[in-house]
């Protein structure tokens, strides 16, 4: 059954829908699977219901009340989703944290959200909670899931999920109808999620989303691209990312498709292949990673395989271009494409876990047209999604058969999108959020007369598609006065498998420059093949031959750009940009203002006559340790 058939009223909440689906499917259908101890283990809707119910009642017996916040952190596992659903059933508000959050971020969010409960997966998360407990006065209970390493923890505010559920069973004996009654009390306008947006400039802001916001967004997306309850979805991206909430909760619950959780984050790719999902939503960097893998495998393989691949890509690109131009595909191209499918594409798609894929979405950041065409040439129906956390994740999507690789598509139903006189994208829909938590000023700036001001600059093209230019504050002015999007150039650079990250500079400067981060694995492999010795990222990145390699990639990206927009000079950074160093947001967007400040010496060198820039900084490891780094970086010129 397609999800769009569920009627969403103002009275409906996520827990009410959950209850309805559990009653409908019961023991007869698998709600989720988790790979554990090497085997996919199913949980039926009845199991889902029982686990959520007792966890919810247990938390209620520990003092969870309506409107209380429950902070959660951990990898994607059924238990994580149970905890979220349990919080919502009791009328609580779910707050998700990224699993790799550093202690300061955890403290800021737990404290700012006034979270009363903290649900962590393993010892590592519990340690984070213990470290901040004294500084977060509202925090009362810390609940954990994985017993590994927990044998020496005896604090009285610590409790395992099974223990909480045991309390829930006891409470149920006293008040058998409490759970259903609590769900009944909910209303669509109640807040269900407090989501911290990864600010590229300032501290994270907490966006408040109601049940109505989440449910209408799910319905509107599903009415564009219907999913079925026989579908499979792999949940492996952080729950703290709105896109994952969209797919696992909003759409997942309405449609009733099966959620699959990988064994470990490291096995996700393999597990995706085993499941072969029907629908996929991931930020560009995941697709970029896949592209890179294919490109590297291609370089590595035998002559005959390379020839077949070249043939298949050539045919694939041609057919994809015809589709993009909405031209009919002649029978001989269809035939050649069929051969390309049989010989190459079919296997490649299987390796990427895409053999059953109906819809693949990307969103959350800009994706380069080259990557886009790459997937369409493979026969993957990849589409852009545009939206923000503040609009419950999505407002714009490509339609089947109407995909343009330089746009993000057209609005989903019930959604209006306009461009202000200044060129800012604004939107209005039932899914627009309720405001920022404890931040009136930001709310006033973002939400005007029901219109959501995105802070992105863009325009609507002749076909009614939205084109997102860049974040307004990121748009550069070139030396001839033309506006230019650094993001556009960066995504082009990243199409090279050797480049992991790029930072393009040039706002109001005489020429354009770039700071490049090489991909350690791919360039490392390249260095092995070329008998270049290296011991670390730093050493590899500074090798003159690697500089020449990167230069070649830049020259490739420089092609068919206007002369003023071409990159003239670059530096290879001694490390990759990292969210732990605040250089990227947790969703991997570059924090330009921050890196511009941090690497101002490099920028200075790029715009002067020096050949070498001396660096002296500290880098932070995930466990909080810091290391001082002193090195010299070379500035290299690009032939234009």
């Amino acid at each position: 059954m397609a999800g769009a058939q569920i009627e969403i009223t103002k009275d409906l909440t996520i827990p009410k829908l959950f209850l309805k689906q559990c009653r409908k499917y019961g023991k007869n259908k698998v709600a989720m699977r988790e790979k554990e101890f090497g085997i996919w283990r199913p949980y039926t809707w009845q199991d889902y219901y029982d686990n959520v119910k007792y966890l919810c009642l247990g938390m209620v017996s520990l003092g969870l009340k309506r409107g209380d916040k429950v902070a959660m952190i951990g990898d994607n596992r059924p238990e994580g989703l149970w905890a979220e659903m349990a919080a919502l059933c009791a009328g609580g508000i779910a707050v998700w944290l990224f699993q790799d959050c550093m202690i300061d971020e955890v403290k800021y969010i737990v404290d700012h959200s006034d979270a009363k409960f903290f649900v962590g997966e393993t010892q590592e998360e519990v340690d984070k909670a213990l470290a901040i407990k004294d500084e977060c006065p509202h925090l009362q209970w810390v609940i954990w899931d994985d017993p590994k390493g927990m044998r020496n923890y005896h604090q009285d505010f610590l409790m395992s999920i099974p223990e909480v559920q045991k309390r829930g069973r006891e409470l149920e004996k006293q008040k058998p109808d409490l759970f259903e009654k609590m769900i009944e009390e909910g209303h669509g306008d109640d807040i269900c999620l407090l989501f911290y947006t990864s600010g590229t400039t300032a501290l994270p802001k907490g966006a408040l989303l109601s049940h109505w916001n989440m449910l209408t967004m799910g319905r509107n997306l599903m009415s564009v691209d219907a999913c079925y309850d026989t579908d499979d979805f792999v949940s492996y991206l952080p729950f703290a990312w709105i896109g994952e909430q969209m797919m696992s909760i909003s759409c997942g619950l309405q449609v009733g498709y099966t959620l699959n959780f990988p064994e470990e984050p490291e096995t996700a790719q393999e597990n995706i292949r085993e499941i072969g999902p029907h629908v996929m939503f991931a930020p560009p960097r995941l697709y970029e990673g896949m592209t890179r893998r294919v490109q590297v495998k291609y370089i590595d393989s035998t002559w005959i395989k390379r020839k077949f691949y070249e043939f298949a890509t050539k045919v694939g690109y041609n057919v994809a271009n015809l589709k993009f131009e909405k031209k009919p595909i002649p029978w001989y191209w269809k035939f050649l494409n069929w051969i390309a499918y049989i010989t190459v594409q079919k296997k490649l798609k299987d390796h990427l876990g895409m053999s059953r894929l109906r819809h693949a979405y990307t969103g959350g950041a800009a994706m380069g047209p080259d990557h886009f065409r790459f997937f369409h040439a493979l026969g993957v129906n990849l589409k852009q999604i545009y939206g923000q956390t503040e609009i419950a994740g999505i407002s714009i999507v490509h339609r089947d058969g109407d995909v343009k690789f330089d746009t993000v598509g057209t609005p989903i139903p019930q959604t209006e999108v306009r461009i202000t006189e200044e060129g800012e994208i604004i939107s209005k829909s039932p899914s627009v959020f309720q405001g920022y938590y404890k931040n009136e000023e930001a709310t006033r700036k973002t939400l005007v007369d029901g219109w959501l001001y995105s802070g992105d600059r863009g325009f609507i093209d002749e076909d009614g598609h939205l084109v997102v230019f860049d974040r307004s504050k990121d748009v550069m002015t070139l030396s001839d006065g033309r506006p230019f999007s650094p993001q556009y150039l960066e995504t082009r650079l990243k199409f090279s498998p050797y480049i992991q990250e790029a930072w393009v500079i040039g706002d109001k400067r005489p020429y354009v420059t770039a700071v490049m981060c090489i991909d350690y694995q791919v360039v490392g492999k390249w260095a092995d093949d070329h008998k270049i010795n290296y011991t670390s990222y730093m050493e590899l990145s500074q090798d003159p031959r690697v500089y020449d390699l990167v230069q070649k990639q830049i020259e490739e990206a420089n092609k068919d750009l206007p002369d003023v927009a071409k990159i003239r000079k670059f530096v290879n950074l001694y490390k990759a940009f990292d969210a732990d160093d605040d250089e990227l947001t947790r969703t991997s967007k570059l924090r330009r203002a921050f890196v511009a400040e941090r690497y101002k010496d490099i920028v200075g060198a790029l715009y002067s006559d020096v050949d070498v820039v001396h660096m002296d900084t500290t880098i932070t490891y995930e466990d909080g340790r810091e290391q001082r780094i002193k090195t010299d970086l070379r500035v290299q010129k690009v032939n234009v």
């Binding site: 101890f37 090497g38 590994k148 390493g149 044998r151 020496n152 064994e263 470990e264 490291e266 096995t267």
Partner: protein, 273 residues
């Protein structure tokens, strides 16, 4: 092999009595006595060539000492071959990795289970009844106890020689654990690992020693003094075949003979951190 009696925690599990081991005229061990209590992590430290690995080899039966006795659970085991000692629950890892490089991680670990597999070639080939149960039990043990503990889910099916050194060390520990040992001999498990891998490995050793389902007594030969002093219950110091002292880490660190022979006068923890 007769079933040996159970030893309670805190009682002597292994006892070496006046062990002498000569290679030609070189005395590798010169009258070494050691008592390992059940539930302990008992470390052996000493400079290179002190005889630490020789001691390990004597315990698991690779070497036969010329003089002296070895008792396990009160029984003399001098005459037993390595595989017989393995059947008693003595397992080990090696300083230099001794895995089957061309086999998968899972197969290497499975090999460690072979002493627990009783079924023969015929029942094995038709896979019914007891054989099936035995296989399933064995699989459950490997997956739930070892792979989960050592966090090697993502390399299950990888060929061992393709793996980085740190992971190979982990696989070796996994194979030693597959035996379900009561006494585990760890010969330099941290050598050649980076800081993060050292932290992981130290955590695994603690888990194996403390976790209710394992409770394995460990003899640890290691040069990383930071880890040795942090996780050991007792430390035995050896110098060119001669025992110097045996005691809790705090005392060992203060003993002037030990400092002279091995640790040096500098800060004890300077070796790595």
């Amino acid at each position: 092999m007769a079933q040996l009696p159970d030893v309670k925690e805190g009682e002597t599990l292994l006892k070496l009595e006046d062990i002498h081991m000569y290679f030609g005229k070189v005395a590798a061990l010169n009258g070494v006595s050691l008592e390992v209590k059940k539930g302990e992590i008992h470390s052996i430290i000493g400079p290179n060539g002190a005889g630490k690995t020789v001691m390990m080899n004597c315990i698991n039966g690779l070497y036969r000492p010329q003089k002296g006795n070895i008792y396990y659970k009160g029984q003399k085991i001098n005459h037993l071959k390595p595989y017989q000692r393995a059947q008693l629950g003595i397992s080990r890892t090696f300083q230099k990795i001794e895995l089957f490089g061309g086999m998968s991680v899972l197969d290497n670990i499975r090999l460690g289970r072979h002493i627990h597999l009783k079924s023969g070639i015929i029942s094995g080939s038709i896979y019914v009844g007891k054989t099936r149960q035995e296989e399933l039990k064995s699989r459950k043990f490997i997956e739930e106890e070892i792979i989960d503990l050592l966090e090697i889910e993502s390399i299950r099916d990888k060929t061992v020689h393709m793996l980085p050194y740190g992971l190979q060390k982990r696989v070796e520990l996994g194979r030693a654990l597959a035996l379900n040992p009561e006494l585990l001999l760890l010969d330099e498990p941290l050598a050649g690992l980076n800081l993060e891998e050292v932290e992981d490995m130290a955590r695994f050793i603690l888990d194996i020693n403390e976790e209710e389902r394992w409770k394995v007594t460990c003899i640890l030969v290691e040069h990383d003094m930071g880890v040795v002093m942090d996780i050991s219950h007792r430390v035995f110091v050896l110098n060119f075949g001669n025992p110097i002292m045996d005691g809790p880490p705090e005392k060992v660190q203060k003993n002037p003979d030990v400092i002279n022979a091995y640790l040096g006068t500098e800060d004890l923890y300077a070796t790595r951190r």
